[in-house]
Amino acid sequence: MSADDPMLTSHQRRGADLPPVVVYEEVRKLFGDFVALDGVSIQVNQGEVMCLIGPSGSGKSTLLRCTNALEVVSSGRVIFEGKPLPSNETEARKIRQRMGMVFQNFELFPHKSTLDNVAIGPITVLGMKEGDARARAMKLLDKVGLTDKAGSFPSSLSGGQQQRVAIARALAMEPDVMLFDEPTSALDPETIGEVLNVMKQLAEEGMTMIVVTHEMTFARRVANWVVVFDHGKVVEQGPPEQIFDAPTCDRTRDFLGHLGWNG
């Protein structure tokens, strides 16, 4: 399914006929006096690829971290699959198991092999048998094209390979939604493509994805919904054709101009 799927009229947003996966209602997040998120209200539908773009410091990472309760919102609500995020840590842990997160710096576990990095979630968190978890991990390494690196340690992999392992590690929990925080920002240019391809493949399989990125080409081609942040607020949102070809907001134009985007 892609943005120009003939089944979709240009006004119908992907997943609009299904209950939303994540809804943010007037989310505010303060760090001391500093307002990192200033009343964010957006929703993420089933099967959507939503890209969050905007200048650095505008609150994109904070929103992702509020999604899986790594940060607790100061006011407003985050609703996941119909229920507000629980405030109690044990319940929050159950929610996190259903969300995969991919970090800018990969954060693979350096003392574990690639295979064990992917298997550790199911083993530790789901209590899966080691053999079963490793079999699942192997399938996922195959999916990201890294079966030959199963026994290697993260330090011997390139950045792009490490990030693909990190994606496999998140997928091993069979999440309902994937959160990506600038997954290609720490990569050498020549390995960005391999990571974006894996993400594109996931999107085509119908995974619900929230992606913070500065890769405008990816956002333009793969996202079906783009949200522009500035100073903790959503300044504009819409399908990529609107955001990139006909932005309605000056700040969107400024931001895209800054990145050298000219359609």
Binding site: R93, R96, E107, F109, V125
Partner: protein, 219 residues
Amino acid sequence: MTLDWSIVWESRYALAEGAKLTVMLTVITMLIAIPAGIVLAVMRLSKSRVLSTSSMCFVEFFRNLPLLLVVYWAFYVMPVFMGIEFSAFTTGLVALSLNVSAYNSETFRAGINSIRKGQTEAAIALGMSRGEAMRKIVIPQAWRRVLPVLASTWVSLFKDTSLVSVIAVGELAHVAMQIRSQTFRVLEMLTAMAVIYWLMGYPQAKLVDWIRKKYEVKE
């Protein structure tokens, strides 16, 4: 002045017993002080004010007192407070353990803090609890940084066990000093003692260097 080295040979069994006790004190102290150090470090890093403050007080207290004072303190004060007499060996062990646990706690704390916060967050994002993240992800990585420091502490401890001789624990230093005072062979006994400590300590020091090199963190 004539030297009579025969006294050293004649005392060989007593000296060997003393050396054995020195090794035992070192080993048992470390066996106590490693888990105690981990517990103290985890307490110190916990979110609970009570746990973290009590750990901090304990550590700062024992880390900043001369070990010799702790040894005397354990000898004279502990029986009064606890109402039981301990053997000299146990008393010495307590004093050494208090001191080394405090040091190890700081070693473990530094080790744990040296692991990037992102590692814990990645574990928590997978759905692990803080405890699981600590046990499966942080502590196994912290070991690499902690091990070389623990090895140095070990070597210091080995030498510091001689301080418990002041409360008549029959370890190497005490035995040698006893023989010296009975035979007045000061130079011979001090030399013998130095040689034995050195012969036992040098390989340990070399081992520490090797561990340092092997576990040196490259990043």
